[in-house]
């Protein structure tokens, strides 16, 4: 019972974090702001997956969190390369 309430608290905190990151992703005046918001969003999603592992008591979610962390890092690097190639002159 108390576990349910605590789970709801944790998930609301994470959900608000995701919401703020998404607002910045939509607003972001420049491309790099959007990339930063996406990076933050990915990290919060890793947290969500880890909490899911604790809620369901299933260690398979940790494998998924590991793979997601790797993909998030690669995504950041690839988008950084994209941002760097996109100068202001040719926009």
């Amino acid at each position: 019972m108390t576990n349910d309430i605590l789970n709801i608290v944790v998930f609301s905190l994470l959900g608000l974090g995701v919401l703020f990151a998404v607002i910045r992703f939509i607003k972001g005046p420049k491309l790099s702001d959007r990339v930063v918001a996406l990076d933050t969003f990915n990290m919060i999603v890793i947290g969500v997956i880890a909490v899911l592992a604790a809620v369901f008591q299933n260690s398979l979610y940790l494998d998924i969190a590991m793979v997601y962390a790797i993909l998030a890092f690669l995504e950041t690097v690839v988008f950084a390369r994209y941002v760097e190639g996109k100068n202001d002159d040719n926009r």
């Binding site: 793979v67 790797i70 993909l71 890092f73 690669l74 690097v77 690839v78 390369r81």
Partner: protein, 250 residues
């Protein structure tokens, strides 16, 4: 005249087919099929050959293929020939990329606009080991966890992609990839032929299976997944290499 003849021939063949199927006692009447006898329900219980018991994780021994992951047992046991075809599709696409973009003679890296900074260059060398090992782990545990040869191979290729992005000068040896890919593909067929020799069918599971959920439990499935993982990883890495290099025209 020709069209009329074709029409009559088609109708005749259809009638012939319907009548021959109606005479066949193995083929049930329309609407008379009981779903419980269908083979998909048996697949779900993994008891195609024996009694219709449930499979319990960590207790059942000697299930037909022993994989805890149902999708794995479908993909590389019951429909393994289909998977061989899928791997061939990937092989053909990588061959196409090699034919279109590969140039005979010396090749060099494309000049990119992206100059990696120091932290990325050094840090990716430290992270490369972790990413590669995670890919290997995903492949080796394909019969226990979600994952398997295709995602694991993609993880290995992504570790190579990280090295390409993080270092201007880095190039892998394409020849090694080609050799690995060919060897893995041939070994897959050889495993299938061994199934034909030691058991009954092409690609049949001929190794003993253990308790569902153990590491060494699924007979030939992990071997097949390792081969698929090596093949997929080397193919995608080869494609990445071909996209990021160009022939030295000068």
């Amino acid at each position: 005249m020709k069209k009329l003849f074709a029409f009559v021939l088609t109708i005749g063949l259809g009638v012939l087919m319907i009548f021959s199927l109606r005479a066949n006692t193995l083929f049930p009447e329309f609407g008379d099929v009981s779903i419980a006898d269908r083979i998909s329900a048996l697949f779900l219980d993994k008891s195609v050959n024996g009694d219709n018991g449930d499979v319990v994780f960590g207790q059942t021994t000697d299930a037909e293929d022993g994989a805890a992951n149902l999708v794995t047992s479908i993909v590389v046991d019951y429909r393994s020939f289909d998977t061989l075809g899928e791997v061939t599709v990937l092989f053909i696409s990588s061959l196409g990329v090699a034919l279109l973009l590969g140039v005979a003679g010396k090749q060099k890296r494309l000049a990119l606009n992206f100059k990696p900074n120091f932290m990325l260059r050094v840090g990716s060398r430290a992270l490369f080991g972790i990413i590669l090992m995670t890919g290997v782990y995903v492949i080796l545990h394909g019969h226990l966890t979600p994952g398997g040869g295709f995602p694991g191979g993609a993880m290995i290729a992504s570790s190579i992609l990280l090295l390409y992005l993080a270092d201007d000068e880095f190039r892998t040896k394409v020849k090694g990839f080609k050799v690995l890919e060919s060897v893995a593909g041939s070994l897959y067929v050889i495993v299938g032929l061994l199934g034909l020799v030691l058991a009954t069918y092409f690609l049949q599971n001929f190794l003993p299976t253990g308790t569902v959920g153990d590491l060494f439990s699924a007979g030939v499935l992990p071997i097949v997944y390792v081969l698929i993982g090596l093949k997929v990883g080397s193919e995608i890495s080869g494609i990445i290499d071909h996209f990021l290099t160009e022939g030295d025209l000068a």
